[in-house]
Symmetry: C2
Subunit: 335 residues, 2 copies
């Protein structure tokens, strides 16, 4: 089908080993021969077959990146960081969207393993993912992003979720709110759990723990935020402050309230997580906890590449925890 190294060799009148050497810049080759071969290869439109090369060199220069929701602008941002760093190292990235499905996550991991990717960066669907993935017994390095398990053998890049939620909650408390709800994503998500913990701890510190449950969980989607806000309204116990587990949930929450006669921030203060680009739109102006998304992606990629490089050396363990930054905009108000 496509032109191979043998075809080039035939035309050039040399052995294919020589062609290989010419094309790969080996030192032990005559400069003239090399130039001639390179020229011929170019004319013939030769393109090296990375598959065949990978087979003998045992490398593929591919890594996989699993994200649960490519529609959430948080992940494209992270993906860019991963991709840019990987590319700078000559590595290509398989970006896979697990769509918040554990099943799909495992399917992708299996497929990528068969493709012999050299490493995996995973933003896991739930806490269960960590376990399932470990059971897969991959022989390649894995870096988790946005989520860690209790297992300290893992490599990860995360936000200090506890601190972030704590800070955000205290901010709301400082504004005079005493009836603050937490609208979360999956209960089984560890980042979510950590955020809930931070939120609870802040309430506790200021003696604001209520007996009624103000923590509601669903999925990390705008519709979920919308639905949960509606629940609050229907239950007749609308909080004065809401901490949402991410920006798109926050946007859904605000949407629901405004559609039902409430105003943000006049009636309800809302804080999100992530600081997606749309949060800064003047009309949105969402107060939120920022994460250095691009940098986190790049850091994860760097970590992974480093681990791939030091083959087998499992000593390299990386835990990169970034500090949260509260971005105060216009969706919170003194009470």
């Amino acid at each position: 089908m496509s032109v191979t190294i043998k075809d080039v060799a035939k035309i050039a009148g040399v052995s294919y080993a020589t062609v290989s050497r010419a094309l790969n810049g080996h030192p032990e080759i005559n400069a003239n021969t090399k130039q001639r071969i390179v020229q011929i290869a170019k004319e013939m439109g030769y393109s090296p077959n990375a598959i065949a090369r990978g087979l003998v060199k045992k490398n593929t220069n591919m890594i996989g990146l699993l994200v649960p929701d490519i529609r959430n602008p948080y992940f494209p941002e992270v993906a860019r960081g991963v991709e840019d760093f990987a590319n700078s190292e000559g590595i290509n990235v398989f970006l896979c969207n697990t769509n918040w499905e554990e099943k799909k996550e495992i399917i992708y991991i299996k497929a990528l393993r068969e493709k012999r990717v050299e490493g995996l960066i995973i933003a896991p669907v739930t806490a269960v993912s960590h376990q399932r993935i470990k059971e897969e017994n991959l022989k390649i390095p894995v870096v988790y992003i946005g989520s860690k398990s209790e297992d300290d053998n893992e490599n990860f890049v995360i936000l200090d979720n506890f601190k972030a939620a704590f800070t955000a909650t205290e901010y709301l408390i400082g504004l005079g709110h005493d009836n603050i709800a937490f609208v979360g994503g999956f209960e089984s998500s560890i980042s979510n759990t950590d955020r809930v913990r931070g939120y609870r701890e802040a309430l506790k510190k200021h003696n604001l723990e209520k007996e009624i449950n103000l923590v509601k969980s669903s999925s990390f989607k705008r519709e979920s935020g919308y639905a949960i806000a509606l629940e609050f309204i229907n239950e007749g116990r609308v909080p004065s402050g809401i901490l949402a587990a991410n920006d798109i949930i926050a946007l859904g929450v605000i949407e629901a309230f405004e559609n039902n006669g409430y105003t943000v921030p006049e009636d309800i203060s809302v804080i999100g997580f992530d600081d997606i680009s749309f949060a800064s739109l003047p009309k949105i102006n969402l107060t939120t906890i920022a994460q250095p998304k691009y940098q986190m992606g790049a850091a994860a990629a760097q970590m992974l590449v480093q681990m791939i490089g030091s083959s087998g050396n499992k000593e390299i363990m990386n835990h990169y925890i970034v500090e949260p930054e509260l971005i105060i905009r216009g969706t919170c108000r003194k009470r």
Copy 2:
């Protein structure tokens, strides 16, 4: 390193051809042997090497998807369509972000060619891309999405950009606007050109062509929209209606105007393109031209898979042009 078919063969006490057949469900194999081998392979944690298989079967089950801006929610939506369809056919997708750089586009194409992807779906950076890509002389099918060149040999999935812009412009005219500007992305983008044509044609039809140029181009980014709106303001000729080449430009335009004492839609009406999910947020409520993004991605993938299947049969040529739909929300007003 990892366990191969030969390792399994050794343990099972059969030849590796037998293992291969057992694992691939060939008919000519004893049911007992098969079961035993499958069992052993599983116990040993065998995972087939898709690289080696690809080499002999001459397939990789991989395609590439090139998008210029993964941060623009339009593209994740398209990507999901592509990925879902491809996955349903057992194909994995390399998602690459060209970042609006022609150079990067070519680099990716070369890398993907070496990886022997079986096809490419490309949302090209500019009109030049089409030419450059043709020069690469890929021997694999390519489907363009969002953009077509004059070359009728191309396969593409696009919105009827002319009609879309025409419709949007007429809507603005119908609202009483007679001073309508077009804020575009790259001039060298074909979809942009088609939209400008539609816009001009509508003005012409209603005898509203101005001698001063109300078409401004930049890149397809929010910052560009912002910058161009600022230009209008600084030049002292703020239009009453604006057609933006996509939603994020529109958002940038609105942002700039609102930051400078203008109100949308009271002072200026704005229409976008794409109907990204954020356009429907009540606070944004952007009037826009909708595209069936997910379906377009899926259609492109289907087209590509079909072409890959019918190897060499170049007769299959697909032009899929979707009809625009004007979504009237709140950023336009009667004048």
